[in-house]
């Protein structure tokens, strides 16, 4: 969602909502106004972003040890369940309801999506009308995937119950405000360019992951014990689905089905490919071998880096962001190894770093005419990044301490040794390993 469009869009949307609600069930007339093509693409984008959640579950699930594979996948799936419900109840209202002083949105009519269930839909720039519900569902998928991303940072060492409470609170207290500030009409809306969620999603998740990883401490045995991915094959499948889903993520964020959509999809494709290629070239130079995990990490680095920029940089800019994203992420991941903290699946090293690279870097690569004057725009970008880092960092710290002290978040050593799957869920991921 490019911020410059969403303000008038939602403004118009809301304007239109009320009369429509007033007019009652005049569905036929409403339907006539709706652009079926844009609606179709937005429905698809919603579906594609949903696909990213099992994709993420597979990506993360394949990287942990065999005994934690289900527990790790459950983190993504639980986000679908928990945030899925919260979003319908009040999440959308908090993000995209009328702004209360720029700090948080609210609209009683959005609670349980009541006001959106009928009515002609919301206008988006250029006279594009889609049902308001579609926009709400599309946005809801972003709200689901963001906490699911964080889970990679403390994989293999949290209790399921604590995790559920944590992501519910995180969504309410961090994601929803941040989303409102930058996209929903809050105090940053219209400043930083964040097309599809560099600051709102990746930087906030990366930062939250870092804080959690530091507070919760390393997994038992880390870094002395070598911890092997149980299933890089599944991680590859997941990476494939993430790339596929990201087309919805980014190209859907144009809320259109036209040139800008095409531009967003194009740069997404190019940045992913470039990021992947860059990473395996670095590896080939540095380690003499290109790894599959490296290729996948590069895909992610490229995809994350292009996310905030997808609507506003040309293909050449996507190449730059892909290269620079992979370079920085590779450096960050190697540095983590040196520093010794345990961000299990490199949520900060990939999502945080590439998010920052993209959000700041886009300023240098904007298409002619996009954004404000250079210095101003750079300041906006830095401000957006800074706000996301500080707000997500500080409030996550409060939350993680709170949840750990009350419900309990860190998994004790005994259960870590037994593995989350058995200790927490009473199951085994790969029954095929035992005779049955």
């Amino acid at each position: 969602m490019e911020m410059k469009r969403i303000v008038p869009a939602l403004g118009l949307g809301l304007l239109l909502m009320s009369p429509a609600t007033a007019l009652g069930q005049d569905g036929a007339e409403a339907a006539a106004q709706i652009d079926t093509g844009t609606t179709a693409w937005m429905l698809v984008s919603t579906t594609l972003v949903l696909l990213m959640v099992p994709g993420l579950a597979m990506f993360y699930g394949g990287l942990v040890r065999t005994k934690n594979v289900l527990g790790t996948m459950m983190h993504s799936f639980a986000a679908m369940a928990i945030i899925g419900v919260i979003w319908a109840i009040c999440g959308y209202a908090m993000c995209f309801g009328g702004s209360v002083g720029g700090w948080i949105g609210w609209d009683w009519d959005f609670v349980l999506l009541r006001g959106l269930d009928s009515g002609p839909g919301a206008y988006f720039g250029d006279d594009i009308v889609i049902p308001h519900l579609v926009f709400a569902m599309f946005q809801g998928k972003f709200a689901i995937i963001t906490p699911a991303l964080i889970a990679g940072a403390f994989a293999e060492r949290v209790r399921f119950r604590g995790y559920c409470v944590f992501i519910a609170l995180w969504s309410l207290l961090i994601y929803n405000p941040l989303c409102h500030w930058i996209w929903g009409g809050g105090f940053l809306t219209g400043e930083a360019i964040d097309f599809a969620g560099g600051t709102v999603i990746h930087i906030s998740a990366g930062m939250a992951g870092l804080v959690c990883a530091l507070y919760l401490g390393a997994r038992r045995g880390y870094p002395k014990t070598a911890m092997h991915p149980n299933n890089l094959v599944m991680t590859m499948m997941g990476a494939g689905l993430l790339w596929v889903g990201w087309f919805g993520f980014n190209a859907g964020s144009s809320v259109s089905s036209g040139l800008q959509t095409a531009q967003a999809l194009t740069v997404t494709q190019i940045a992913a490919a470039t990021g992947a290629l860059t990473w395996i070239i670095i590896e080939a130079l540095h380690l003499k071998k290109a790894t599959s995990l490296g290729l996948m990490s590069g895909i992610l680095a490229g995809l994350v880096a292009i996310t905030p920029a997808a609507g506003d940089v040309p293909p050449s800019g996507a190449i730059v962001l892909g290269v620079v994203g992979s370079l920085f992420c590779y450096g960050a991941v190697v540095l983590k190894g040196k520093l010794g903290y345990d961000d299990t699946l490199d949520v900060f090293g990939i999502h945080g770093i590439a998010g920052i690279v993209g959000a700041i870097g886009l300023t240098f690569l904007l298409r002619d005419g996009a954004g404000a004057e250079f210095a101003t725009q750079l300041w906006y970008q830095v401000k957006g990044v800074g706000v996301s880092i500080i707000y997500a960092g500080v409030v996550t710290l409060i939350l993680v301490v709170l949840v750990d002290k009350t419900v309990g978040l860190r998994l004790n050593d005994k259960d870590q040794m037994a593995g989350m799957d058995h200790a927490l869920h009473g199951e085994h991921g790969f029954g095929l390993l035992n005779l049955n």
Binding site: G221, M417, G426, E427, H428, L433, N434
Partner: protein
């Protein structure tokens, strides 16, 4: 020489390994197996407890010279016990070993262990 075979719980592999290393027993061979003993460890399946007849275990094989047998056994016992001994903690079997050959060098006997 003896061949010491230990069947332990999977979650204790790391500790047993460390305990063996502390006793300077550095070479081991490990494999997955499943076992049936007294222990029960139900899985959950759609609202029901399902009791597998075979539970996942780890099998450790260690070839040692005779004077290391006791150290190996006590290291395994120390590493493998849950809370001072629980059902399912496992068994150790000690078999006579007639010879041992290091493939790399072809050397035989105690020095090849």
């Amino acid at each position: 020489m003896k061949l010491v075979i230990a069947i332990i719980q999977p979650d204790k592999l790391e500790e047993v390994h460390h305990a063996l290393v502390d006793e300077e027993i550095l070479r081991i061979t490990v494999s997955r197996c499943t076992g049936h003993g007294q222990a029960e460890d139900p899985d959950l399946y759609r609202g029901q407890e399902v009791k597998p007849s075979l539970l996942a275990k780890v099998r450790i094989e260690i070839a040692v010279n005779d004077d290391y047998v006791e150290r190996a056994v006590s290291a395994i016992i120390n590493g493998a016990k849950h809370n001072g001994g629980e059902i399912g903690d496992g068994k150790i079997f000690i078999l006579p070993l007639e010879d041992c050959v290091r493939i790399r060098t072809g050397e035989h006997g105690g020095s090849a262990i």
